[in-house]
């Protein structure tokens, strides 16, 4: 099993969710995060004082999938989240040692 972490632009969340559902990925965890890469922050000015805001709001999507569909998962997320502008985000893949569905006690692939 693999944990696929995708950091995407917030307004792309729905597109990614729909695409993953079509693919057959049945669950995900989403968090609101901040970050930057090459897309630097911006400056806000309040009463003449400048505030450098380095971080840009993003959404982090985490899905755990079977090894067999990792490749398609990455591709799906990529196609749905891409805009071509700086700040589109990144995708990381980690190994998952074990998994369990809490309600039933099913483990590993049964849990996904």
């Amino acid at each position: 099993m693999k944990l696929v972490i995708a950091i995407v632009k917030p307004f792309k969340l729905d597109d990614v969710r729909e695409a993953l559902t079509t693919l057959g990925v049945e669950g995900m965890t989403v968090s609101e995060v901040k970050g930057y890469g090459r897309q630097k922050g911006h400056t806000e000015i309040y009463r003449g004082a400048e505030y450098a805001v380095s971080f840009v709001p993003k959404v982090k999507i985490e899905v755990v999938v079977d090894d067999a569909i990792v490749g398609r998962t990455i591709e799906t997320i990529h196609d749905a989240a891409k805009t071509g502008q700086i700040g589109d985000g990144k995708i990381f893949v980690l190994d998952v040692g074990q998994a369990m569905r809490i309600r039933t006690g099913e483990v590993d692939s049964q849990a996904l």
Partner: protein, 468 residues
Amino acid sequence: MANALKDALGDVGVAFRTDVSELKLLGETMPVLKFSHAFHLLFVFLFILVPSPALAEEAVLNGANTAWILTATALVLFMTLPGLCLFYAGLVRAENVLSVLMQGFSIACLMSILWVVCAYSIAFGDGGAANQWYGGFGKTLLSGMGLNAMSGDIPESLFMMFQMTFAIITPVLIIGAFVERIKFSAVLLFSGLWLLLVYAPVTHWIWGGGWLADLGVMDFAGGLVVHATAGITALVLAVMLGPRKGFPDDVRPPHNPGITMAGAAMLWVGWFGFNAGSALAADANAAMAMTATHIAAATASLTWMAIEWIKYGKPSLVGMVTGMVAGLATITPASGFVGPIGALAIGFSAGVVCSWALSFIKQVVKIDDSLDVFAVHGAGGMLGIMLTAVFAVPKLGGLGLAEGVTMLDQLWVQFAGVIAVVGWTLILSIVIALFVKAIVGLRVPDQDEADGLDVTTHGERGYSLGGR
């Protein structure tokens, strides 16, 4: 006659306690009234007053004026609770939002008590031989103020209440200087002493028949009494307290500009009570004061907006409402003396001068008067005091200066008022701050400041997002 009156009133539902056998027009007995209907006939009754034994002549209560000043009192209290509190709260970090609200609320409560206990007396009493300087303690705990005591043609208790709302908002203004780092006990101790030693005497000098009133200083609703005193004290405390950690390069921006605008809107509306109410009458003077107030607010807001647009390319909400406050502070002393043209000019000047003052204090002098109390209220109030002399002249649309007084004469008088008030406020604020520093200390520990005062001083969290 007394019995006929009693019968007539009885016909419309006004009942008397049976142990009051007759209506004593000149005595101490106050009938207990029970109104069942015909409330408008209350005015008839009110014209037959029992004068307070302290007054020589019979003062007649004016119902219209009383009704308006009752309303104005509520409006001015609304400016503090919650107007100014929200205005300031939105400008600080989220971890300090409650501390600002708490400081405002608690000062309002404390000043109310102190006003009734002795500050009203100091401000508006008769100081006898020392009446040039302060009003004495003759009205301590409002002694001698019976139910029907009058101040002009409104009840004295109402005048006292109306003035109380001014005494409340002025120390709350100062909060802006010391947010995010001051000790709560210091806030209470300082504000209480400041009311007694700075606000009340200055009020007496200008509105209570003191020496500045005799000199002819024109301050319609508090350019000196409220804004200049608050502004100077803010500067003193900002210096003595020291800046916020990270000032000037690393402070965090306003956490909720939306709430700041909500507070600002309440201030604008409430300011009609502040300025138009200072006419102490429901008359043309009040209406003109309201007009001038409104025009100045709108003009100053647009001016500040334009300045930001030109300077930074982006007109901001925080900037615009700051301009509004600057305009309102500046028109405050002039509101009852100038016309619409004066208001336009004063509003515009406020936008220009106060925005410059803000940059000057924060970026050149680098004093962390965190929410710019001096730039907006101090500079605005003093500017307004000087412009009052200019725009009060009929040629510029004003309502006229005193008999035989030229604009230049009045400018000198106004300037004298500024020097006197600034000087007194400066010295006393320093003394009080040193005293408070010695007794309870001024500043919270660095870690408390970093964690935020809400949790560390007040044990509360302003926002429980995420359910915890």
